[in-house]
Amino acid sequence: MIVFNQVNKFYGDFQVLKDINLTIKQGEVVVVIGPSGSGKSTLLRCINHLETISDGTLTVNGISVGDKKTDINKLRRNIGMVFQHFYLYPHKTVLENITLAPMKALGQSEKEAKETARLYLDKVGILDKAESYPSQLSGGQQQRVAIARGLAMKPEIMLFDEPTSALDPEMIGEVLDVMKTLAREGMTMVVVTHEMGFAREVADRIVFMDAGKILEEAVPAEFYENPREERARLFLSRILNH
């Protein structure tokens, strides 16, 4: 479904992504971990073309992401994204946040979009906040709205860029629970996170990155019990024993 083939990316002379080869299948939950600056967010952001790749090929559903002929807006409608800092639209209510793209990008009627929005708000457990503004919500609630906003486009793929890193510890659980539900329902998910518990429980595969390279790919049990790479071992010991 998502295929990276020999992808490289440079910022000037600095190489952020090195020889990335990665295939993500439909329904798979892939968790990308690694130290900060390892290129994991960049990798994720390439998938919906928020970042451009310098060379190699990247396809989503067989469509080349960087190709000039690709209708990127159409492609993006099929890929939901959740950001570390939520990026809800502060001037719009929760409901309007969710209905904007379905109405403007998919051409849904307001009625239809609102119905869908309520459905997903209910799913993430905050239907009662539909008429609130983002500033009236806690961080955890805001992030759940952001997930509902992504889902309302009925995408086949959801990208999560450190979705719990900006949250107070007691709110992390409520967001992870929503993500676990999604994973169980068969959503294709690519998740950049430091939540090792989540990765271990939910991921079909762990991708470990360092310095722009994918150093290791393994199923969670294998990766956590016995990481092959020394760098991964070091990373795990630091992150698990703090």
Binding site: L50, K74, R76, L100, A101, K104
Partner: protein, 220 residues
Amino acid sequence: MDFLAPFIEVYTPEHFKFLLEGFGVTLKVAAISIVLSFIIGGLIGTLRYARIPVVSQLLAVIVETIRNLPLLLIIFFTYFALPEIGIEMEITTAAIAALTVFESAMLSEIIRSGLNSIEKGQIEAGRASGLNYIQTLRYIILPQALRRMVPPIVSQFISLLKDTSLAVVIALPDLLHNGQIIYAQKGSYVIPVFVIVALMYFIVNYALSLVARRLELKQS
């Protein structure tokens, strides 16, 4: 009582009518210039924000040039220099044209910096959800930026209204100009005329800033 005598003498219905006529011209010129410069300035500010190659750079040069010239010079230029190259305008049109050019440049900077103040993540969120660039600007960035820009935009409008008085140099029959005509009749009229002229400017501008404050409160 000697001091008050000229006040009583000059405040006649005829003089008031004449001043109000002038004030009408001031308000008309200001209103048209405000609308035009808001549209043009908004367009320029947005185009510069969008960093369209060549277009944005070209606009930057034009805006910087205009912003660094005195308004008085632009007024003179419009009325006295443009006819030399075959562009002739009557006084009111020339005043509106000069003010619009100058204020568009000023407003475009306010609008550009207002747009720049919205975090890039907002654009990314919009684009990632499948909205195109124009839709993202229109539904996400502009509404947020406009709210932040209300106070500086209104204060620019107030400047514009006051700046219309500079057009006396091309004999625009505005409030200040008509005031001058009245006090030219008699030296002792100067102070009473200035008082009433100042009051008229003050009331309208103060009302504008009250509106701005209301809008600001409404947002928060």
